[in-house]
Symmetry: C2
Subunit: 247 residues, 2 copies
Amino acid sequence: MDNNKLLITMDNKPKPTIYLIPVPLSDTGTERVLPAYNTDIVTKLKYFIVENVRSARRFLKACDKSINIDELTFSELNGHTDPHTIPSLLQPAHDGHDIGIISEAGCPAIADPGADVVAVAQTYGYNVMPLVGPSSILMGLMGSGFNGQSFAFNGYLPIDGGQRSSKLRELERKIMHEHQTQIFIETPYRNNKLIAELCKSLPAHMRLCVASDITGERQSILTRTLKEWSKAKYDYDKIPTIFLLYK
Amino acid sequence: MDNNKLLITMDNKPKPTIYLIPVPLSDTGTERVLPAYNTDIVTKLKYFIVENVRSARRFLKACDKSINIDELTFSELNGHTDPHTIPSLLQPAHDGHDIGIISEAGCPAIADPGADVVAVAQTYGYNVMPLVGPSSILMGLMGSGFNGQSFAFNGYLPIDGGQRSSKLRELERKIMHEHQTQIFIETPYRNNKLIAELCKSLPAHMRLCVASDITGERQSILTRTLKEWSKAKYDYDKIPTIFLLYK
């Protein structure tokens, strides 16, 4: 059964596919974090929507040294892209070609503008095909030992002091009353300050997992109570880190 | 910098590592959804904590036909396991050995009892190492085009009618006011009924993504408004499916 066929227009043309192509989180090799299948897909594509052309080229070369980059067409989609131009990024699909979406690090469309182009692709009825790859959110959750039946990713905490402490109270409420693991990130140069702040603002028995440099050489995933963190020595300054809280 | 060393006891013994080993979601080959690195790790381990011994053996054989299953030690951890026995499952680690955790499908510790043993491993200060693999939650989110900066996984919706409609109202509120994508699952034979129920209970302009048989041969990831779903033909009966809602 192909639900696409049931729902979408009745012409007989095969639908183009939009592939969501994860990239490594750190300097690790592709075979460390990506299935071989991803490389088979990537090397067949000619059109890409990428967050950054330079790093996308570097990634494609890492997948297959023999790839001819000059044959490929790249469109950029990032924070500077005018949202009105997003549908036009899908022009190769309108012309019948498959497209690959590649973000700076990790899984496209999770915490980057890739989601907007996927949303448009869905309205055109194109096939959308996510590939397997590393996600610091998911891997942090796996390593934390926290509730994986109910969890929320909150992105960045607000910077403004008042909004920030009301957000922390909301997270505490969701942990205690909804039994929901709370996940968030911080600008890496503020990691140490954030841990100190959590220790000061939240109950001492609450557990914090600090998952740092996931899949990298300095990977460290540590779950401790806030009381333990408040007495511990640590230094996560400028290291990409994800934070998880649970009771 | 090794944060483990800073936080944990001062003996010089290397800490055992608890590997979290994902398995395919469907009958697809391991090279379709798992990095080659996972196989390197798996074939070095002698001790496993598994959700089901039979399917874990089958997975290990699929990773490496030449693996000698009879040399391996398996402990079972599933819904029938007495929680008090969980620390004893880590005995091989207490004896200095690495352990692999394998669940029935997908990523261990996300929506299965593996999380409990990871929590205990964290209290002993063991290294915890999640490996990359397929997650229907994450891949459904990638393919939906919905907000990936803020999302929540809710597990199963309540079965009881009153609790269920109050949960749906809560999800609607979180979508509209917190701009948070809401993800949940249903017992597969009730998939079609759930879609009809969502169409009836929630605003017609709300979008529903139905992500079905992810990584399988019948994979289908479709985002439509509830109004469109209410007029569409579909049949997801008994197919593993994940549901995502957003405005």
